[in-house]
């Protein structure tokens, strides 16, 4: 089946599955099979922001005053966030749009991916302010081994799905006797709609692990600086990004849960059961990689309020939470949040960006003169 930009089949979108049904034709939102995606679009649009709205000019001074090992933590963290959003700014579109069958879900995917491009633009905004020439930082993202390790893991599931779908849409699945499908590992693979659906399931698991675990580990680092009143402009941007990410992770949780609970394509419900162990492994693998990343971040020393152990505990804590949300058992022992202060950065409605409001705390501190000499009281008489 080839992709068509406007399918002439007069189908009822209310009866289509989320993916691999008829291609979407009329972009109508008066009715929705799954109302939540329409709500997500509305919410995401209401969250619209631009990186230039946030003043990051003070961050340069803070950054210059950081010791070397803290500069390493800050910059490595930012590089990792840049990688994650580089992937997310394009991949949902390329991987999911050719196979989506519901108009509200199609528009959600576009809205979602677009907001990730704003995140990417904000990293440039931050880095441009910190360095006269940020090229070195950007260029390191594709050569840094530690970042590469996770990049290939995240992109792998997307690429496998995209590749198989492209083959299916170009050649169809019926003629595989005459045209072999050679997968990304260079091996011949027999494709069926079910095996491609499996790739989709694993891909959504991997996206969810990215948005629900990996991102939050990096947020913890950004906010840890701001808890010390350092690099507050950066934290303000990350706060806006975190607010968007909560919506994105919600959408992939919705997709996984709708499949698992049998509310969408019945074949996907079977696949959810079949791939239960593989899906779980994706989350455990992501948690493991994030712990290795914590090791790399803090290799030269920790910072006040955050070290390797605490960040690893947070990885386990957030992994427990996220896995429970999609029906898995919590795999780790940790029961309480090791960094409870992070929650206050994740509240969606008190995002504050106006500079005069942001600077209030430091402004007040400057007014108080704590040195009192006995001379100051010399004119007092009792």
């Amino acid at each position: 089946m080839a992709y068509t930009t406007f399918s002439k089949i007069a189908n009822d979108a209310m009866k289509e599955p989320m993916f691999f049904g008829n291609p979407v034709n009329v972009a109508r939102y008066d009715q929705q099979k799954f109302e939540v995606f329409e709500k997500l679009i509305e919410k995401q649009l209401s969250f619209f922001w631009r990186p230039e709205e946030i003043d990051v000019s003070r961050d340069r001074i803070d950054f210059m005053n950081l010791p070397d090992h803290e500069q390493h933590i800050f910059i490595s963290n930012l590089k990792y966030q840049t990688l994650l959003d580089s992937i997310q700014g394009r991949s949902p579109n390329i991987a999911l749009l050719p196979i989506v069958s519901l108009p509200e879900l199609e528009t959600w995917i576009e809205t979602w991916s677009f907001s990730e491009t704003i995140h990417s633009r904000s990293y440039t905004h931050i880095l441009r302010n910190l360095f006269t020439d940020p090229s070195e930082v950007f260029e390191d993202i594709v050569t840094n081994e530690e970042i590469q390790k996770r990049a290939s893991d995240i992109a792998g599931y997307y690429d496998a799905l995209i590749h198989a779908v492209q083959f299916m849409q170009l050649h169809g699945l019926a003629k595989q006797e005459s045209i072999d499908y050679i997968n990304l590992d260079g091996l011949k693979e027999k494709l069926s709609l079910r095996s491609i659906k499996k790739k989709l399931y694993l891909c959504i698991c991997s996206i969810n692990a990215l948005e629900a675990i990996r991102f939050y580990v990096s947020f913890a680092c950004s906010f840890a600086f701001a808890e010390r009143d350092l690099l507050e402009g950066n934290a303000k941007i990350i706060k806006l990004i975190a607010r968007d990410e909560a919506l994105h992770l919600n959408s992939t949780q919705q997709i996984l849960n709708l499949w698992a609970d049998g509310k969408d394509d019945p074949e996907m419900a079977e696949i959810a059961l079949e791939c239960f162990a593989e899906g779980r492994e994706i989350f455990l693998q992501a948690a493991e990689q994030e712990k290795e990343w914590a090791e790399y971040l803090f290799k030269d020393g920790s910072m006040i309020g955050l070290n390797k152990e605490i960040l690893c505990q947070y990885v386990e804590y957030i992994a427990n939470q996220r896995m429970q949300a999609i029906g898995y058992e919590a795999p780790f022992e940790v029961k309480t949040n090791p960094i409870p202060w992070i929650n206050h950065w994740l509240v969606s409605d008190n995002v504050q960006v106006a500079p005069q409001e942001a600077e209030i705390s430091s402004y007040l501190v400057g007014q108080i003169n704590s040195k009192v000499d006995s001379d100051d009281l010399s004119s007092f008489e009792l």
Partner: protein, 83 residues
């Protein structure tokens, strides 16, 4: 008569004007929350008995018997358990 909120087997007074999350916090019960807007799902709890009214649309995926505490209130006695 005052209403009660039972959390993990312990009874607390219930303020019907506040959300369940605010009720929990006013009793100094440590519970998870992120967005406080119903879309992230972090405050999910299990509903053992009683009923909740959502003051805004609960956008996160809630299974049957689950509730989001950040955007719900209760008019009557209610029992919940944390995850």
């Amino acid at each position: 008569m005052s209403k009660t909120l039972t959390v993990d087997g312990i009874e607390y007074p219930l303020d019907t004007q506040k959300t369940l999350l605010e009720n929990l916090e006013s009793q100094a019960i440590k519970v998870e929350f992120h967005c406080r807007d119903g879309h992230c799902g972090a405050c999910r709890c299990a509903l053992l008995s009683g009923k909740v009214n959502y003051i805004s649309y609960p956008m996160a995926y809630v299974r049957e018997k689950d509730i989001l505490t950040c955007c719900s209130q209760s008019d009557n006695d209610i029992k919940i358990s944390t995850y």
